[in-house]
C-alpha cells in the first residue's frame, strides 16, 4: 500500500512538472507585455528595463523556466506583478473560499442526486423517474449564471433570506459563512446534482440487470438487503469517479459563479490575474488547481482499491 502511494505521488510529481511546462509555454503565447501593464501608461525606458530584468524576463526561456521550477520547489512561486506580494501567499489565502464552496456544493449535489438517482432507477418508468429526468435535464441545460442571478433575485431580493453576495470565513463566523455560501453552493450544486442523478440512475439500472442481483433475489433476501448490499455496493463504484471529477473541476474555481457572487476564490483570482496579465499569479493559480486535481485523483484511486477487491493494489 505504501509503495502504491509512493508510486502515485511520484507520478503526480511528474504530471505537475508537465503542468508547469505547459503553463509556462502557454503564457509565452499570450499577447501583451506584463511589465508595461504593471507600469501603466507613463514610464521611462530605464524603469522598464530595470523591472524587466528584476522579473528575469530578459533571460532566455529555458533559463526562465528552470529558475521558475527551482523556486517553485522551495515554495516560492514568485511575486505578483501587480501587488508585489508573494504569489504563494496570494493563492493560498484564496484556497479556503474555493474549498468551502466546492465541498458544500458537492455535498448538496450528493444529498439531492443520490436519493433521486437511486429511486428513479429502482422505479424506472414511473412518474417519479420522469420527474427526476425533467429535473436533471433542467439542471444540465440551464446556464449556471442565469440560475445564480435568479437565485439572487428571488432569495436575496424578493425574500431577503440570504445575502446577495460576499464571503465570510468559516473560521470567523460559521453562521455568516453558511448564509453566504448557500446561494452560490446551491447554484453550482444543482448543475452537479443533475449530472450525478443521471449517472447514478444509469449505473444502478445497469447493476440491477446483473446476474448476481438475480442470485441475491433467488436467495430470498429482503429487498433492502438486495438493494444496499448487492446493487448499491457495485453501482456506486463508478459514481465515485464522477463525483471526484466534479469536485476537482469545482476546485478549479467556478469563475462565473465566483465573480457573480463576489466570492474571493481561486476562480476569481484567475479571472483577475488574466485581466491584469499578472502572470506569476496566474501560473500559481493554475498550479494550485492542478495540484488539487492530482490530490483528488490519488484519493479516488485509494478509495477505489477499498471499494473494489478486484483492483487490490500490489
Amino acid at each position: 500500500m505504501t509503495r502504491f502511494i509512493l508510486r502515485r505521488l511520484l507520478q503526480s510529481g511528474i504530471v505537475l512538472l508537465g503542468v508547469t511546462l505547459v503553463v509556462f509555454l502557454l503564457l509565452q503565447l499570450v499577447p501583451g507585455d506584463p511589465v508595461r501593464v504593471a507600469l501603466g501608461t507613463r514610464f521611462d525606458p530605464e524603469t522598464y528595463e530595470a523591472l524587466r530584468s528584476r522579473a528575469g524576463l530578459d533571460q532566455p526561456l529555458p533559463v526562465q523556466y528552470a529558475s521558475y521550477v527551482g523556486q517553485a520547489l522551495t515554495g516560492d512561486l514568485g511575486v505578483s506583478f501587480r501587488s508585489g506580494r508573494p504569489v504563494t501567499a496570494i493563492v493560498l489565502e484564496r484556497l479556503p473560499a474555493t474549498l468551502s464552496l466546492a465541498i458544500t456544493a458537492v455535498v448538496f449535489a450528493l444529498l439531492v442526486a443520490f436519493p433521486l438517482g437511486v429511486l428513479s432507477a429502482l422505479r424506472s418508468g414511473s412518474v417519479f423517474d420522469h420527474a427526476a429526468r425533467v429535473f436533471s435535464q433542467f439542471g444540465v441545460s440551464v446556464p449556471d449564471f442565469w440560475m445564480g442571478i435568479m437565485g439572487i433575485l428571488l432569495f436575496a431580493g424578493v425574500l431577503g433570506w440570504f445575502p446577495p453576495s460576499g464571503y465570510v470565513a468559516l473560521t470567523e463566523d460559521p453562521v455568516g459563512w453558511a448564509s453566504h455560501v448557500f446561494l452560490p453552493a446551491v447554484t453550482v450544486g444543482l448543475v452537479t446534482a443533475s449530472i450525478l442523478t443521471r449517472f447514478i440512475r444509469s449505473s444502478v439500472l445497469e447493476v440491477l440487470a446483473e446476474d448476481y442481483v438475480r442470485t441475491a433475489e433467488a436467495k430470498g433476501l429482503p429487498t433492502r438487503v438486495v438493494v444496499v448490499r448487492h446493487v448499491l455496493r457495485n453501482a456506486l463504484i463508478p459514481v465515485v469517479t464522477v463525483v471526484a471529477v466534479q469536485l476537482a473541476s469545482l476546485l478549479g474555481g467556478v469563475i462565473v459563479i465566483e465573480v457573480l457572487f463576489a466570492w474571493p476564490g481561486v476562480g476569481r483570482l484567475t479571472y483577475d490575474a488574466v485581466q491584469a496579465r499578472d502572470y506569476p499569479v496566474l501560473q500559481g493559480a493554475i498550479l494550485l488547481v492542478a495540484a488539487l486535481f492530482l490530490v483528488v485523483n490519488l484519493l479516488v484511486d485509494l478509495l477505489y482499491a477499498r471499494l473494489d477487491p478486484r483492483i487490490r493494489v500490489r
Binding site: 438475480r214 430470498g220 478486484r310
Partner: protein, 329 residues
C-alpha cells in the same frame, strides 16, 4: 404435506410484453418433481425451459405476466404475499445459475455470499453464518475452506466458483435445487466434476433437483424424468430411460440423433434444419411442424396436437408418434 411433489406446476403460462407485441415464452406447461428425484428440462435456447422455472419461483422479469398454478411443498405460491413468497423461496429452494462468474457478486467474499441466506432464513448470527459457509465449502469439496471463505470470486477458478455457488444454493438445506445449465460455462472436465458433485449431494441430502440443460448426455446420466420443451410447450415427457430409448416425438428423436457419437468416425455433425420459432409469432398448430421430418398433413399446421400417453408415464405432443422399434439407440 398434502402433496407429495416438492414443486408442481400446472398450466403455467408466461407472456412477456415487448415493443413488438406479447411474446408467449411459456404456453401451458405442467410438471412436478418429488423429493430425491431429478427432473430434467431439455430444449434449445428460447424453448421456455428456464423461463418456466424462473416464473414458477417468482424470479421472472418484471415485464412478464405469469398465470397458472404453482405449488411449493403444497403451498399455493400465488396466494402468498410477495414477502412471504420471497421467504419461502429463499428457505426451500436453492439456485445454481449458468455462469458462476456473473452470478456471484464481485465485491463480496464468497463466504459472505454463502452465509447471508442462512442469516436471513435460519436466523444465524454473522459469525455463525461464516462458520456455516466454511462447512458448506468443505461439503462441496473446496480444499482449505477456512481460507477460501474470505476469497473474492475473482480469486477462484471457474470450477471452484461453481462449487461455491452450489454451496450457496444448499446453505439452508433446501428441499429443491434448481440448476439452470450449471455446466455450460465450464470446461469439459470441470463439467463432469460438477455433475458428479450435484448427483452426490442429492443422494446425501435427498434434495429434489430440476436440471435445466441442453446437454442430453448429462441428462441421461443424471435425471429420473425428462421433459422436452419446444416453442414454450412440453412436447414429450416421461422417465428418462423410456424417452431416450424410444423417443415418440420427431423433435426428441432428432435431438438424440444430433448427439455427436465419439465412436463413430464422422466428419459432419447431424443437425436439425431450420430455427426454433419466435415466441412473438408461435404457429397456430404444432410449433415444430416447419422443421419436422415426419411432416404430416395440414392438420399439423392448423391444430395443436394434445399431449397423449404413449406408455405408462410417457406422454407426447404429436399426431404422429414414432412407433417403438426397439433399436433406436
Amino acid at each position: 404435506m398434502t402433496d407429495e411433489a416438492v414443486l408442481s406446476v400446472a398450466d403455467l403460462t408466461v407472456t412477456i410484453g415487448t415493443r413488438r407485441g406479447a411474446a408467449r415464452a411459456v404456453a401451458g406447461v405442467d410438471w412436478s418433481v418429488r423429493a430425491g428425484e431429478t427432473l430434467a428440462l431439455v430444449g434449445e435456447s428460447g424453448s421456455g425451459k428456464s423461463m418456466s422455472v424462473l416464473a414458477a419461483t417468482g424470479l421472472a422479469p418484471r415485464a412478464a405476466r405469469v398465470t397458472g398454478d404453482v405449488r411449493l411443498l403444497g403451498t399455493d405460491l400465488a396466494a402468498l404475499s410477495a414477502a412471504r413468497r420471497r421467504r419461502m423461496r429463499g428457505r426451500h429452494v436453492g439456485f445454481v445459475f449458468q455462469d458462476p462468474m456473473t452470478s456471484l457478486n464481485p465485491v463480496l467474499t464468497v463466504g459472505r455470499q454463502i452465509g447471508e441466506a442462512s442469516e436471513v432464513h435460519l436466523g444465524l448470527t454473522r459469525r455463525a453464518a461464516r462458520a456455516r459457509a466454511i462447512e458448506m465449502l468443505e461439503l462441496v469439496g473446496i480444499p482449505s475452506a477456512a481460507d477460501r471463505v474470505d476469497a473474492y470470486p475473482h480469486q477462484l477458478s471457474g470450477g471452484m466458483r461453481q462449487r461455491a455457488v452450489i454451496a450457496m444454493a444448499l446453505v439452508c438445506e433446501p428441499d429443491l435445487l434448481i440448476a439452470d445449465e450449471p455446466t455450460t460455462a465450464l470446461d469439459v472436465t470441470t463439467q463432469a466434476q460438477i455433475v458428479e458433485l450435484v448427483a452426490d449431494l442429492q443422494r446425501r441430502l435427498g434434495t429434489a433437483v430440476v436440471w435445466i440443460s441442453h446437454d442430453l448426455g448429462v441428462v441421461a446420466g443424471l435425471a429420473d424424468t425428462v421433459a422436452v420443451m419446444y416453442g414454450g410447450r412440453i412436447v414429450e415427457q416421461g422417465e428418462v430411460d423410456a424417452v431416450f430409448a424410444e423417443p415418440a416425438h420427431p423433435y426428441t428423436a432428432a435431438l438424440l440423433a444430433a448427439r455427436p457419437d465419439p465412436d463413430a468416425n464422422v466428419t459432419e455433425l447431424v443437425t436439425i434444419p431450420g430455427t426454433p420459432p419466435s415466441p412473438l409469432e408461435l404457429p397456430e398448430g404444432c410449433a415444430f411442424w416447419p422443421r419436422c421430418s415426419v411432416r404430416g398433413d395440414s392438420r399439423c399446421e392448423r391444430e395443436l396436437p394434445p399431449l397423449v400417453p404413449v406408455s405408462a408415464g410417457h406422454q407426447v405432443r404429436t399426431f404422429y408418434p414414432r412407433q417403438p422399434t426397439g433399436e433406436d439407440r
